[in-house]
Amino acid sequence: MSDRIRALLTRRRATLLTVAVLLCLPPFYLDAFWLRIGLFSMAAAIGAIGLALLSGTAGQLSLGHAFFLAVGAYGYTWLAGDPGPGLPTALAVPLAVLMAGLAGGLFSPVAGRVKGIYLGIATLALVFLGHHVLLTAESVTGGFNGRSVPPLSLGGFTFDADRELTVLGVPFGAEERLWFLGLALFALTWFTARGLLRSRPGRALAALRDSETAAAVMGVDVARHRSAAFVVSSMYAGLAGVLLALAFRRVVPDYFGLVLSVDYLAMIVIGGLGSVAGATAGAVFVTALPLLMTRYADQLPLVAAPGSAEGAVGPTEAARYLYGAAIVLVLLYAPDGLHGLARRARDRLRRRRTPTTVPDTAVPSPPPPAAAARPKEHTP
């Protein structure tokens, strides 16, 4: 038995290594367009994992995710930038993440007491408040036009295109370098979020979601864990904000609107609530789709090229229709999202491969949960 576990462990490690190597290859083969898609996806995945912890695991709805992304993005820009303290950029990154966590902590009197959809409404206020501040506090945020983001430099190495750098015959510009930074931050997020989910705090949060009463009598401090979930989620959002700012090289207030919050909710719903891998898949889907459609608009049927005649469906709109449809399909047919689909497919494969399983070790795959969305009843 222990040999089998060991074999599994090493196979797991081998898979992990393979994935890591594969993820390091794109900068050597793909052009900046694809790398940018990857970067935005990685940033979105970090934010989505944070939201998945809050909404999927702890069962708290947040529409304020865009606000915490903005705190991270602007926090970094201000901390490292010229109106601002002008700190070393390597220091500004963790400080910006802490700032987002602090902002989440300041909201904890609300986040600790208010449940579910009511928290969603309360956090809505944050987005509007944040947007207003971004527009008006010009000395810090640059107002409507935003600010340009100072490139990150780590121990003399700058994540920018300024100095020529060639690795293995491939010129490394900003995208190539940022790819590896994004990868490292994403790996950190993946590692920590999964660690959280599989240990004491994660179980406490899941218990809060399933039954607050049961959690409380088992010794879980309800208010404290609710606010802690909110703080942790804000910190992941802040980290995502920093990476987004570095990738965009400019931060503007209009990006951090309500639509962004809704995008993040779409990511975790499509991916499957409460799963790190699901949130990542959802983030890639929601981020990459509009960018890909813009690029290939001329080759797609029914989609007009950007900036073409009125009345035509542009690629961005088409992408929105598509992922709107994806959400409806997911809610109707796979309420546990891409993650659930993948798990069921894997279970089926495994059962097919071993048709005569030992009865007492074979665990049937759980039945798909009842559809989360029920069609509205017709009211006369």
Binding site: G195, A216, D221, V232, V363
Partner: protein, 289 residues
Amino acid sequence: MNDRTTEARADATRTTKTHAGGTSTTAPPELAVRDITVRFAGLTALDGVSFTVAPGSVHALIGPNGAGKSTCFNVLSGLCRPASGAVTLGGTELTRLAPHRIAALGVARTFQNIVTTQGTVADNLMLGRHALTRAGFTASALRLPGARREQREHLARAREIAELTGLGAHFDSPVGLLSYGDRKRVELARALCLEPRVLLLDEPVAGMNAAERARTAEVVAELRAELGLSVVLVEHDMGLVMRLADEVTVLDFGRPIAHGTPDEVRRDPEVLRAYLGTDATDATGEDAA
């Protein structure tokens, strides 16, 4: 981000066994309920209820539906604050404490209708270890060695408790796939994972078939013998109550109407009246049912 202070206090006052699974060295403290009154918008759910659970005994709380048994449990576990009266465990007043602090003092409960969380049996049992463990958000996120060791040790103890309650074979199964009786047992095992000094069981065998009932009764009797904990039991199955309980308190419409050993209570005219209506002459048949 954890309850370091509470837990430290709980650890200091707690003299029961460690995670290694040895037996307790001292008897649990006395649980005293004094003159508890609970009102819900005009309805008096509990009216001056008093009883004392002697250390290490099984105390049954019986009464017709709506007598206030579950409300009494909610007061004991801190989910419901009484209008007057006090509950003390040893020297500690419980009525003003939040539920999680009461849990940290070693009071665990199960629910009448099953309240488990998603995930495997192991996940549920590990939730029961929450008050006994201290890995916080940072340590867990970074998977620090201390947090991992703690998880490993407590998982081993949870597995022992699963074996003890007959859930060993289902330890890694999702709770949603278990039978009704097994899910009910998951609740019991989860409560035991708190290493409680006082265990509150709200209808532990309701809805179970005869075999499952017998098995659960066995487990409870075994627990009490092995771990020496006090048990407060709410149950409609009189056979089980008569077999397990040392003392019985009977509630009717929120008022205690009788108190004593199972045999005394069985013969009490007030009890017969409450259960069978007036002019009851022979109720022993019902009791044995």
